[in-house]
């Protein structure tokens, strides 16, 4: 009987530990979100969205940084997503199990979790050094490089989910592969691919490290792609580490804006995917 009690005790002990681990994890992460909300909301006002980043010791907003982040993220996704989608199409429909595809798939997975600061150094070397100055364009390119692996991966996975009967039916009607892909497979996998795009936007809009030495920062309003441009992550980095209270408050507000938009993007990606799956179920 003793042995049995021991086993049971061990069981309970480990299960309690696992429960504790879950609680600790949730509490830590809850604490982060709570701090973010309380500090971020405290400094939140219409100024944040209507005024430029201020000089030290005075009030202002984040308008130029929000604009810059939006522009660079958008540009990054416009450059990166088509490449990712096309490459994913090649892996899913043309190459499949060829040696090239196995290698590309592997390299893509490596890029997916490669440190973003390395990508920043890469773009610095090939764009910033060539051009001779920091620019929004370089920032957008760095973000594009980060967006490619995400879109590639989801596109390939989603194309593989399309029932092969649809492909066969299209081929039986005499359509060439490109026609099948564009007129049958892309529409069928549309919501999946959109999910990939949303995830990619979520991924790149919070990236700081690659922008530090590509887009740099700009205290003023700038719409020039050829010049340094303000962006939320770098502004947060700079302002949070400063000794000025106004700057720190703005950093928290910026952090809240970024986190909320990323959470909204991730949640909508899930909803799109769930809708697609329930669609499937009905058919």
């Amino acid at each position: 009987m003793n042995r049995r009690t021991l086993r049971k005790a061990k069981n309970v002990a480990f299960l309690v530990l696992s429960l504790l681990a879950t609680l600790t994890g949730l509490v830590c992460l809850g604490a982060i979100l709570w701090t973010l909300l309380s500090h971020g909301l405290a400094g939140m006002s219409t100024h944040v969205f209507t005024q430029m980043t201020p000089p030290p010791g005075s009030e202002g907003g984040l308008l130029n940084a929000i604009y810059g982040s939006a522009v660079m993220t958008l540009l990054g996704i416009l450059i990166g997503a088509p490449i990712g989608v096309l490459a994913g199409t090649y892996l899913a429909e043309y190459g499949r199990h060829s040696r090239l595809c196995v290698i590309v798939r592997f390299i893509n997975d490596v890029l997916l979790s490669a440190p973003s600061i390395i990508i920043g150094l890469f773009i610095y070397q090939i764009v910033v050094v060539r051009m001779g100055h920091f620019s929004a364009l370089a920032g957008a390119l760095a973000l594009a490089v980060l967006a490619i692996p995400v879109t590639l991966r989801t596109t390939e996975d989603m194309l593989n989910l399309v029932p092969s009967g649809m492909k066969d039916a299209s081929a039986a009607l005499g359509a060439y592969t490109w026609r099948t892909i564009i007129s049958v497979l892309y529409p069928a996998a549309r919501s999946g691919i959109v999910t990939g795009l949303l995830l990619a936007i979520a991924r790149i809009s919070g990236e700081t490290a690659p922008l530090l030495f590509t887009a740099l920062n700009n205290q003023f309003w700038s719409t020039q792609l050829n010049a340094p441009m303000a962006n939320l992550p770098v502004v947060i980095f700079q302002f949070a580490l400063s000794p000025y209270k106004e700057w720190q408050d703005l950093a928290w507000s910026g952090a809240l804006i970024i986190t909320l938009s990323i959470l909204v993007l991730s949640v909508s990606a899930r909803i799109v995917l769930a809708l697609m799956q329930s669609d499937r179920g009905l058919r």
Binding site: R7, N11, S18, L19, L20, A21, T22, G25, L26, C28, A31, I32, T35, L36, P82, I83, V85, L86, Y90, L91, Y94, G95, L100, V104, F106, I107, V110, L111, S113, A114, P115, I117, I118, L121, F122, Y124, Q125, I126, I148, P149, Y176, T177, W178, R179, I181, I182, G206, T208, A209, L212, L216, P233, F237, A240, L241, Q248, A255, T259, L263, V267
Partner: protein, 317 residues
């Protein structure tokens, strides 16, 4: 009307070729990017590597004034912070994954799972700013004085916890990293645990095993490759993480035995100093740091991917 119009067919063949080549070029671009990263890093790091030779990797000195640079302190900081992060995050992630797959009431399973995944999407700069403003003061006021007081009498770890409680330093960076990679590792582990066939688990229960025994003797051995793969992916993230660390590491280019002392990591050195670096040798030394980080993370991530692939193949078979 002919069923197959020859002109139409010829056009189709051309379109087909164009589209196919477009996708092929895009796929090749992925290889080109990785190759480009490697080449550009080596190219940028070359002046520093030629000037310092192998000594670059084993020198601790980092002096922009006399232009003497060595990578030992950042390498040490990167490894130690990642080690602390893994030591804290892996057991916790294991517990969370177990809870989610084996213990959690079905009603809570989805919400907690989704929460974990959403938190994995929170950008790292958020963890950094939280670490600086909330965690560091907390550690400085309560945890670090306690550690210093109690580690004093223990011979082995006495050296690890001494000196003033700065609040920021290697230990704080390790803790912030741990919290950051936790959701990521937990989500991967949960997915891996989910691949264990229910029949195997039920057989264990049928033999009278307790939940823990089933987990330790059935689930873990069956998913070992995937678990290790997930841990390595987390390690890859921790090694290369920049923003979460830069806020709380203290940015001091020195190696001290105390975990409470400020230090630096490869990525935080680059983030802090790159735009301020004056002189080609300084910039080149920072890029050389990047090259070391690239090699380190590439090896870890590649190994992790190979392990996860092995698991995938086994599940498919």
């Amino acid at each position: 009307m002919a069923i197959i119009d020859p002109r139409h067919a010829a056009k189709q063949v051309v379109y087909e070729r164009i589209f196919r080549n477009c996708t092929l070029v895009a796929a090749l671009l992925v290889l080109l990017i990785l190759g480009g990263v490697a080449v550009s890093l080596v190219h940028g790091a070359w002046p520093a590597l030629r000037h310092f030779g192998f000594g670059f990797v084993i020198q601790e000195v980092w002096n922009p004034v006399t232009e003497e640079f060595g990578a030992l302190a950042p390498i040490y900081g990167t490894l130690v912070t990642s080690l602390i992060a893994m030591a804290l995050a892996v057991p916790a992630a294991f517990g969370i994954a177990l809870f989610l797959t084996e213990l959690c009431p079905p009603v809570l399973k989805r919400p907690i799972g989704v929460a974990v995944e959403l938190l994995a999407a929170v950008p790292s700069i958020i963890f950094g700013i939280w670490g600086l403003f909330e965690l560091a003061p907390l550690l400085q006021r309560y945890v670090e004085p306690w550690l210093i007081k109690h580690a004093h009498s223990v011979p082995g770890i006495h050296e690890l916890f001494k000196g003033p409680p700065y609040g920021i330093g290697i230990l704080t960076a390790g803790i912030v990293l741990a919290i950051m990679v936790l959701p990521f590792i937990a989500a991967t582990m949960r997915d891996v645990f989910d691949t264990v066939p229910v029949m195997l688990k039920e057989s264990g229960y049928g033999l009278g095993a307790t939940t823990w025994e089933v987990i330790w003797n059935v689930v873990v051995p069956h998913s070992r490759v995937g678990v290790v793969g997930g841990i390595m992916l987390g390690l890859g993230r921790a090694l290369g993480e920049t923003m979460a660390v830069t806020f709380v590491i203290g940015n001091a280019h020195r190696i001290s035995t105390s975990l409470l002392a400020p230090g630096t990591t490869i990525s935080s050195s680059i983030a802090n100093e790159f735009t301020e670096a004056v002189g080609d040798l300084y910039t080149s030394s920072l890029i050389a740091l990047g090259l070391i980080l690239f090699i380190l993370t590439f090896a870890v991530i590649a190994l992790a991917q190979l392990m996860l692939r092995r698991l995938e193949r086994r599940v498919a078979a």
